[in-house]
């Protein structure tokens, strides 16, 4: 599968995961392209988190194939996949609460950057980009929720991944914080050419920031396309968006 000559950064083919008798994710195919923000949406229990855990190596697929940066990564460990340049965050507490914001972000640089001075430069640059500079010396666990969410993105982005996977980074944020985070994601895409996979419940935000959207429903891909296409898709409207959006 080629998209306008672009090789996919990540491709799933027939990705399936069963938990005992329950099929959480079934035969899921999608691609993430260079330089795009891809939204992965779906109602609760649609299989978003399972898919997320499958592509980051935290779960092994029961069937199907996962290709990351052109390499077959089916069944590879989270460490192998993260070292290739796919970095993820977690839905809850994706940071080190007892450490300073500076050290949190620094942690993301340790594997990829040689030399203590260069790591600090990278961490400072990352903090600046996320607007976290005023909080550098604060203990991360004591900060407001919105700032903590940004710190989580900061840790992940400090590793300068090629593909940044964010698990519901907007949950619990107010409107200003959401706008702020979306601006950060656009900067990550536009200034660093890093692709972003965004698993999110906030539909308005997803529609605004994503280049393409994949909709999961009952563990399967219900639809995929641009936000405009998804908005117009009848099956999506029925399954997920509900009547308010349909009108």
């Amino acid at each position: 599968m080629q998209h306008e000559g672009k090789e996919a950064l990540l491709r799933t083919e027939g990705l399936t995961r069963r938990f005992g008798g329950l099929v959480a994710v079934s035969d899921v195919d999608f691609d993430i392209l260079p330089g795009e923000i891809l939204g992965l949406i779906g109602p609760n229990g649609a299989g978003k988190s399972t898919t997320f855990n499958l592509i980051s190596g935290f779960y092994k697929p029961s069937a199907g194939k996962l290709t990351v940066f052109g390499e077959n990564c089916t069944g590879k460990s989270p460490l192998t996949i993260s070292r290739m340049g796919l970095v993820r965050t977690f839905q809850h507490g994706s940071l080190m609460p007892s450490m300073s914001v500076r050290d949190n972000i620094l942690l993301g640089t340790i594997h990829g950057v040689r030399g203590a001075g260069k790591r600090r430069e990278r961490a400072a640059e990352t903090a600046e980009m996320l607007g976290l500079t005023p909080y550098l010396s604060e203990e991360a666990g004591t900060l407001p929720h919105g700032i903590q969410r940004l710190v989580s993105i900061g840790i992940a982005f400090a590793a300068r991944p090629r593909l940044l996977c964010l698990d519901e980074p907007l949950t619990g944020l107010n409107q200003t914080e959401v706008a702020n985070t979306l601006a950060v994601l656009e900067k990550i895409r536009d200034e660093h050419g890093c692709s972003v996979l965004l698993v999110e419940h906030n539909m308005k935000a997803v529609m605004k920031v994503c280049d393409r959207i994949v909709v999961l429903h009952h563990g399967q891909v219900l639809a995929s396309g641009t936000p405009a296409e998804i908005r117009a898709d009848k099956s999506v409207i029925e399954a997920y968006l509900g009547h308010r959006h349909a009108n």
Binding site: L95, L107, I110, I155
Partner: protein, 312 residues
């Protein structure tokens, strides 16, 4: 590193304690100085693994392995003193790499129990081994005669060097990974850090320090027996850490000095020194959950005004 390492304090402190040991002439005081130094090193070793959030009761086993290695090297193999001393640390570290590779996949109470079981199993091995002297242990582990008058200074110097080394490691980026593992192992893993490898490295470094403490115990006590290295050794070390405070590497030092000195005083009174450990731990947990150093820091913060706590 670039961070404030407080090096002048370290150099001044080390010079001060080394200078003080030169003034020691009474053999009883000399033995207390040795015991305090060794206890401090064991407590710092235990705390080093606490940085990754694990309570390492196998510390006692590695102290024993160091002691028996140094003891065997000196009395059986007749190797040079300094070689035997360092060998205790190296053998303890090597054994800990194998032990850690297998056990560091577990956490919390499971890891603690495995450490406890390992300590007791190793102790039984000594008591059953004829070469190692069985239940009565090994005797005649002497340092060269030339070392004799300098022993407290020598022991203190080795301990200070080890503790300073562990401090530098803790403050390095490696140390930050250790704290990150305690705080949130999954996040550390997602940014490309090999968690098991880092845990084993942390464990091996701590075990090297524990092994060195064992070597020093063997050459200062001259006699070792399996009973010296039961899990109680780790329990005492935990008491030093908790009473002194675990936030800072100085905590275990304060705890070790206080409890060992109190303990030897109690022995002089003919009392059971263990009562002091029990009482001190209970008081520390109830009155000073952050230990003595935590209490002092809070006092200082209050004097200097609020908001400076996170400045370091």
């Amino acid at each position: 590193m670039g961070e404030n390492l407080k090096l002048p304090y370290w150099f001044f402190g080390i010079a001060l304690v080394l200078g003080a040991t030169l003034l020691v002439s009474d053999p009883y005081v000399a033995s207390v100085v040795n015991i305090v130094s060794i206890a401090a090193l064991i407590a710092v070793s235990l705390r080093f693994v606490m940085l990754i959030g694990e309570l390492n009761f196998a510390t006692a086993a590695f102290v024993g392995i160091g002691a028996y290695t140094a003891g065997s090297a000196i009395t059986i193999l007749e190797w040079p003193f300094l070689v035997a001393l360092v060998l205790g640390g190296i053998v303890a570290a090597l054994v800990s790499i194998v032990f850690g590779y297998i056990t560091l996949r577990t956490k919390g109470p499971y890891f603690l129990l495995i450490g406890f079981a390992f300590t007791e199993a190793v102790r039984i091995v000594y008591s059953k081994s004829m070469v190692l002297g069985g239940n009565s242990g090994m005797v005649g582990i002497f340092p060269p005669i030339a070392f004799d008058p300098w022993m407290p200074t020598f022991v203190m110097a080795v301990v200070a060097l080890m503790i300073f080394g562990l401090y530098l490691l803790e403050r390095s980026d490696f140390g930050k990974i250790l704290t990150a593992i305690r705080d949130n192992e999954d996040v550390a893993r997602t940014v490309g850090l090999n968690i098991l490898f880092v845990k084993i490295a942390c464990f091996a470094i701590a075990s090297f320090a524990a092994g060195m403490a064992g070597s020093l115990h063997a050459v200062t006590n001259n006699v070792i027996s399996p009973g010296d290295f039961s899990f109680l050794l780790a329990a005492f070390a935990l008491a030093y850490v908790k009473v002194g405070g675990e936030d800072n590497i100085v905590g275990p030092l304060v705890g070790a000095v206080l409890l060992v000195v109190l303990g030897s005083y109690a022995l002089g009174l003919g009392g059971h020194e263990h009562i002091f450990y029990g009482a001190a731990v209970i008081l520390a947990v109830l009155l000073m959950p952050e230990g003595i150093t935590g209490l002092l820091r809070r006092g200082r913060d209050r004097l200097m005004g609020k908001g400076k706590r996170h400045a370091a």
